[in-house]
Amino acid sequence: MAAAVPAARWARAAAALLLGCCGAALASGVQDQAEQFFKSGHTNNWAVLVCTSRFWFNYRHVANTLSVYRSVKRLGIPDSHIVLMLADDMACNPRNPKPATVFSHKNMELNVYGDDVEVDYRSYEVTVENFLRVLTGRIPPSTPRSKRLLSDDRSNILIYMTGHGGNGFLKFQDSEEITNVELADAFEQMWQKRRYNELLFIIDTCQGASMYERFYSPNIMALASSQVGEDSLSHQPDLGIGVHLMDRYTFYVLEFLEEIHPASQTNMNDLFQVCPKSLCVSTPGHRTDLFQRDPQNVLITDFFGSVRKVEITAETISLDPNLSAFESKPPKDELAAEPLKYAEQLPVAQIIHQCGDIAVLDSVFLWNSMEETSAHDMKK
């Protein structure tokens, strides 16, 4: 008896030691993983959507901006993280045959104004000064929170601008212009104050490529609807309303974004292919030399959505190395479990195919619980 017990104890101790070593090795791998998780990437998303034109015949610019706003909200960025600047004189314009609506598809298919639009800068508040103040954060203390861009060094910001532009400038509300040099300097100020992690700049105007020529700050990717010397054209003429409802480039970008859901793995290279010359008539351009990562690895949802990164781990990870590591006791029956993989943020298939409330609730619950496990792990 006495001889068997020490043998069993030896075996147990050896197993424990072996397991401990394995565990330690595994734990260090997960540790690296965890550190990696926090080293790269962003933690929050912001969007600044600007429509720089007013007047009834510039209906399409407001429709452009509102469509991008809708997509960005659908993909997860909340109103508190969107700064929307519109002239906002379309929906209630006396010339609008359908008051309180702004349509983006002809035959009035889609009303992008809806009833939950939150416009932060409206009408005459859309000025160059206000725009630059929003970007750089030099805002008077009395400005309400919804009008501020409260980004930090882990924010990915999407900036979308549309209106009338020329070679090196963008016209604001028919009374002033912002030049590409000013914009580049504003971005540099943002970089020096660490107000962004990565920036995606999209512009849909005539000669839009001239606006990103002067950027010199790192981590900026830029897209434009036309090259210098080319005009961006309008799309969707609607006879009932009497104006063009959208611009071509944004129309096709929107069609592209309709395919994106929060779990999409589509990357930026696909966005660069949107709207070739045959559809857009102008030649869209992009600029990635200032961007650190390869566009192949940049997801669309990195900028357009507010996707929480979730890592499922079975081990306990010590975030503070000073704390004493405790042995992890993996349950025996899960040693031979199937390999772990990233769970879907939102089980889209279930939502799309089962329109019942219960399925939605289930998935919401699942999502929320996943949120719980990682909520105190992630820093905001």
């Binding site: 609008n96 045959p97 009497g242």
Partner: protein, 623 residues
């Protein structure tokens, strides 16, 4: 040294001008006339295009379908008009009220300077009726006008009907950002003038009116409609306004665009565009259209009720429905759709129309000639006067120069003869000037003031009395004594007539230049006739030939020939007697236009151009 300050070069230049004067003048005249004739060529006249961004393309969906309702309103209006024996004010008020418009009426009265043939009385009284459709969601700061003249006889009933049908349709739409005023004006231009003056609270002519009660903000654009048949085969646009002022070309482009969209045949000057544009018949066609516009603009008469809006910086055109013998007819719904489309596009305007041209000529509805292209033609004609004046001046200054300079030049001729004569002062020129201008003033004031005296002594009506007085004074000016200078200095001197001719040439150049800026057609027509003869006339040489030529280019004969050409161009040629009748009517019309609406043509001709012509006549009979 510079070209003009170097004495050698200056002498060379002066020699050039003196020697080559006549060839240069001839060349200049040919260049001016040729340039004008080239205006109708397709490469010179580019295609019209829409300049105003806010109006954009014809992208609008017209849904007007009340053609039948328009015709029933028209029949009702005709019945009530016959019953009332004039404008059925009460019925119009009631109908507009039932349509939901704010109705106002404006009685007006005007004492004519002399009773013309159509009205045959001094006092003209009438009432304008207008209804305002308020924009549902806008602040009534701007408005558009659709006006229909209520003429005598059986005209324009369908226009009133269409206007009322459009009013009922417009009332049901919510997309109006400007108020729309539907105006029915009585006595055509008189009523329109009364309404405009009262609306803008001014008193340019001596119109007595009750003032307007209802206002709708600043008027951005106006369309005057004339339709006298149930169906139309084509739609004609009239652009010439008072004193030759034209509306912004964008309004004409808008009309053309919508006619093309609805498949409506549209014409200008009653002429349809030809599809082949690089053949000789097409060129002749364009030239005819251009000449018609020049003649109409030159007369300074408004070619429609729209002509009076232009003075207030309101762009306006008149649209006339024409029912000719073509096979394809358009009904009221198509016409209504065109108007609806035009008004929807005008509704989109944010500022007054100002992007397109204000000074242009139209050889066809889709081609235009802007001021920068047509002005050089006039410039070449004025160059003749300048060259001739320089020539005279140099000859005169050579007389002043000493013998030494004359030896250098070696020029003979008039300068040599003039030196021996005593130098008369400028005092010799004052009597002819005074007499000519006095004649001009008499021509302006006497006819209307003296019409009662004339009717007492002669068995003619007042209108005829006025016109015949005008002609009498005109002809009497030819026979006035011109030889007052003889009393002062002796026989007529060469220096005298050369100075007078120099003065009158410069005077003529200045007058024609000024009038061409305001009314190019009038300036050009007068220049084409008067300038060569004015440059050529002198007391030496074939005097009777010069006299005949000078009489041929006098403004009155230009008017007569202009009427003759106009009748030829509209393919309604007239005999000499009918032309004379039309001439008398035109003179009466010119006087009435001046007194009633402020036209500038009659005072300009009477007070400035005719004295200048008399001065040239004076030069001719200097000896």
């Amino acid at each position: 040294m510079g070209l003009l300050s170097d004495p050698y070069r200056r002498r060379a230049l002066s020699r050039l001008i003196l020697r080559l004067n006549t060839p240069l003048c001839l060349l200049s005249y040919v260049a001016g006339l040729g340039w004008f004739l080239a205006l109708a060529l397709p490469p010179v006249a580019p295609r019209t295009y829409m300049s105003e961004n806010a109006m954009g393309s014809t992208m609008v969906e017209e849904q007007f379908a009340y053609g039948e309702r328009a015709l029933s309103y028209a029949r009702e209006f005709a019945g009530h008009k016959k019953k009332a024996g004039g404008m059925p004010v009460a019925w119009l008020e009631k109908t507009m009220w039932n349509l939901g418009l704010e109705v106002y009426k404006q009685p007006f009265a005007r004492t004519l300077p002399f009773p013309d043939e159509t009205r045959e009385r001094y006092m003209v009284k009438g009432t304008n009726v207008y209804g305002i459709l308020r924009a549902p969601r806008a602040a009534s700061t701007e408005s558009l006008v659709l006006s229909v003249p209520c003429s005598e006889g059986q005209h324009n009933h369908q226009a009133v009907g269409l206007m009322l049908a459009l009013a009922s349709y417009f009332r049901g739409q919510i997309y109006w950002a400007k108020d729309i005023i539907f105006l029915v004006n009585e006595h055509d231009l008189l009523g329109m003038e009364a309404w405009l003056e009262a609306y803008h609270d001014v008193n340019i002519t001596e119109m007595q009116s009750s003032g307007t009660l209802g206002r709708a903000g600043a008027i951005q654009a106006a369309v005057s409609l004339e339709l006298s048949s149930d169906v139309v085969t084509s739609f004609d646009v009239a652009v010439e306004g008072l004193n030759g002022q034209l509306p912004n070309l964008d309004l004409v482009n808008l009309f053309h665009a919508f006619c093309q969209k609805n498949g409506l045949l549209c014409t200008i000057q009653g002429k349809l565009q030809r599809s082949d544009w690089d053949t000789l018949p097409a060129y002749a066609h364009s030239l005819q259209t251009l000449l018609l516009m020049v003649l109409k603009q030159g007369s300074g008469r408004p070619q429609g009720d729209h002509g009076l809006f232009l003075r207030y910086h309101i762009e306006a055109i008149t649209l006339r429905g024409i029912n000719s013998f073509r096979q394809y007819k358009y009904d009221m719904s198509t016409v209504g759709k065109t108007l609806e489309g035009m008004f929807r596009k005008l509704n989109n305007l944010l500022e007054r129309l100002h992007q397109s041209y204000f000074f242009y000529l139209l050889p066809s509805l889709s081609r235009f000639v802007s001021i920068s292209v047509y002005m050089p033609a006039f410039g070449f004609l004025i160059l003749i006067l300048i060259l001739k004046a320089l020539d005279l001046w140099m000859k005169l200054s050579k007389c002043d120069a000493g013998p030494a300079e004359r030896l250098w030049d070696g020029d003979q001729g008039a300068a040599h003869a003039a030196v021996e004569e005593p130098r008369p002062g400028l005092l010799t020129l004052v009597p002819p000037l005074l007499i000519c201008h006095a004649t001009g003033l008499t021509l302006y004031f006497l006819p209307v003031l003296g019409q009662h005296v004339a009717t007492q002594h002669f068995p003619v009506s007042e209108a005829e009395a006025v016109v015949l007085t005008v002609i009498a004074i005109y002809v009497a000016g030819l026979a006035l004594p011109h030889n007052t200078h003889r009393v002062l200095t002796g026989s007529g001197s060469d220096r005298g007539w050369m100075t007078l001719k120099l003065l009158s040439l410069l005077y003529l150049a200045m007058q024609l230049g000024c009038i061409a800026l305001v009314n190019f057609s009038l300036g050009f027509l007068l220049a084409v006739t008067m300038v060569p003869v004015a440059a050529a006339v002198q007391p030496t040489g074939p005097r009777y030939l010069y006299a005949a030529l000078l009489v041929l280019v006098t403004p009155a004969v230009t008017l007569l020939l202009g009427i003759f050409l106009y009748q030829e161009l509209i393919e309604y040629p007239v005999s000499v007697l009918e032309c004379w009748q039309l001439f008398l009517q035109a003179v009466a019309g010119g006087l009435l236009d001046h007194y009633l609406y402020g036209s500038v043509v009659f005072p300009f001709v009477a007070i400035f151009l005719y004295p200048c012509w008399l001065l040239l006549w004076n030069v001719l009979f200097w000896k």
